[in-house]
Chain length 342, copies 2
């Protein structure tokens, strides 16, 4: 694998018959370069297939043109979707995206220890996790811009959905159908210090309250995020003396798990019990799951725009909340007169 000697800006300048200063200005489309000169420089660069050394450029300029993205889970649909949106706008803006997976607390410590290495990036966007005070100080110290996505944040600009609202859309649907014994399967991320989606839970209680329905503590079960965990939760609910006629799951993945338990128990959905999720995960459409849609890529894009704005020194909105929307498919129906067979 032979590598031609890297052609440097000096080569371009020489070929174009100008000084390096001028070559640099021309190449960067900076002001104060005669049009003819600029063209000449560009041609020379073209001919030598020259491309600037980002290292040198960053070093001299003091900005890296890179932004770090910190995610707790890479392959979970929600995060992958955010990432996709984010990448698109960052790329359009000529920014490179450094990906960091920060799963558990250990990773987190390491990340804050090692990585925010000075000047590695100009900004970082943290996806769906809170940043404690000490960590905020670190960020501040390294002087990077921060934006958060997928969860609201006190200190930094953020984009997210209104979880409470999303939850109420799901619950409202169930209530509206006439359900009175509604269960909630709440999902939490074991590796995160706190849940960012409190709203999803509180929506349950407020909806019940608004509908004049009593809350039965047996009907809410909290599990770690994930399909199999959702199934476990459903098993528990099915073991109740009076099982629910409907279940509200914090996410589609959890809902899917619940449906599996239902299926294996020989119960029909929505005949015996209705199920509603949140997210509108691509598979929701494939299994005809009623859910509340949240625009995922769009959130990523907005976060991206915030970063770009910040980097340009513009003032950006402190927060934007994107709307969610109930999508009724076929896992929900009015309750049986006599509830599911117990």
């Amino acid at each position: 694998m032979t590598v031609a000697r890297q052609v440097s800006m000096a080569d371009v300048a020489r070929r174009a018959g100008v000084s390096m200063a001028t070559a640099s200005r021309a190449l960067n489309n900076a002001a104060g370069v005669a049009e003819a000169t600029r063209t000449r420089v560009f041609r020379a660069a073209e001919e030598l297939s020259y491309v600037v050394s980002p290292e040198a450029s960053s070093l001299a300029r003091g900005a890296t043109q890179r932004v770090a993205v910190v995610v707790p889970h890479i392959s979970r649909w929600f995060f992958a979707g955010l990432l996709e949106g984010l990448e698109a706008v960052l790329r359009d803006a000529g920014l490179d995206l450094l990906l960091y997976h920060v799963g558990d607390m250990e990773d987190r410590r390491e990340f804050f220890d090692r990585l925010p290495a000075r000047r590695k990036v100009d900004a970082v966007v943290v996806l769906a996790f809170p940043v404690d005070e000490e960590e905020q100080r670190r960020f501040q110290l390294m002087g990077v811009d921060i934006v958060a996505a997928g969860g609201q944040h006190a200190t930094y600009p953020y984009v997210c959905i209104d979880d409470e609202m999303a939850g109420r859309q799901a619950m409202g649907h169930l209530v509206h159908l006439g359900h009175e014994r509604i269960a909630m399967i709440a999902a939490v991320d074991p590796d995160q210090p706190v849940s960012l989606q409190q709203g999803r839970s509180s929506a349950y209680y407020s909806s019940l309250h608004d509908a004049g329905l009593a809350v039965d503590d047996d009907l809410v079960v909290t599990v770690n995020w994930g399909g199999p965990e959702g199934a476990l939760a459903m098993d528990r609910l099915l073991g109740l003396r009076r099982p629910p006629t409907a279940v509200y799951a914090h996410s589609d993945e959890v809902a899917l798990g619940a449906m599996r338990s239902l299926r294996r128990a020989g119960l029909s959905v929505p005949g015996d019990v209705s199920v509603v999720g949140i997210d509108d995960h691509p598979v929701a459409e494939l299994v005809d799951l009623t859910t509340v849609r949240q625009p995922v890529e769009q959130q990523g894009e907005i976060a991206g725009e915030m970063v770009v704005g910040l980097l340009r020194g513009e003032v950006v909105q402190r927060s934007v909340t994107v709307p969610t929307q109930l999508v009724v498919r076929s896992t929900t129906a009015p309750p049986r007169r006599a509830g599911p067979r117990a």
Copy 2:
């Protein structure tokens, strides 16, 4: 957001009472530094909470400690999984990961034009897409190491599964159950020049052949990758005078789509028709889909190890093929004596 003046290596050197040369050597654990001196330098660095400037370091050293990962789809499970594995080993090796989404041909051109900007990365791993000759030359020109994952590659080291084998495992299962009219829903990526997963198709024909079964062209339908597309394909198959009693889908997502069509048509799975996929997507478990499992994260990890090896100048295996495994769940069963009701 006030930023303290960046402390440089000169500060550290001064504080430790040594020259920059020595400080640099000490910090890099290079040979030829007295133990006492090294300790002193480290302490000074610690006290000043010094961290090297990656830009300057790269510039001087000529290596970036960064690797680019090029993916055709970020949020598709398979790629996200690869990414997850890859990120983990790259991170352990102290390498940063630059993410590039190269969806269609347009992106691709842009990528090769702009991004391989000299020195942005030390290596690139391309996920599941072929690299044409011109593009190979570009790579060579920029002198980076390349590894491929999720598809075999003629020129670069790669890691992948044996698609033919995976397909045969799926088909073999169907044949073994006694099916004789087996359909195939082949999935292709419209944005990619060629399908990297030819083996999945050829397995169909060879399995049929081995079983002494005739091929009926009506039974194979090719669609773009995706659940909804799978559903369409199934609709077409159901329209046949003699529909299949089993379908082999190129992926779980496609299989899921097919199942939706089946369900909507009032057909039961596996009662009326059996369905088998490939991948063992997390939801496969939740819908009890029979499938062929491929270790996704592991492939990412292996690709990562290859990169790390290459960067260390070691010789790495030209290719590694990870094993797949049939996972029988409940979407497959022997055919009805009289085929599905038409």
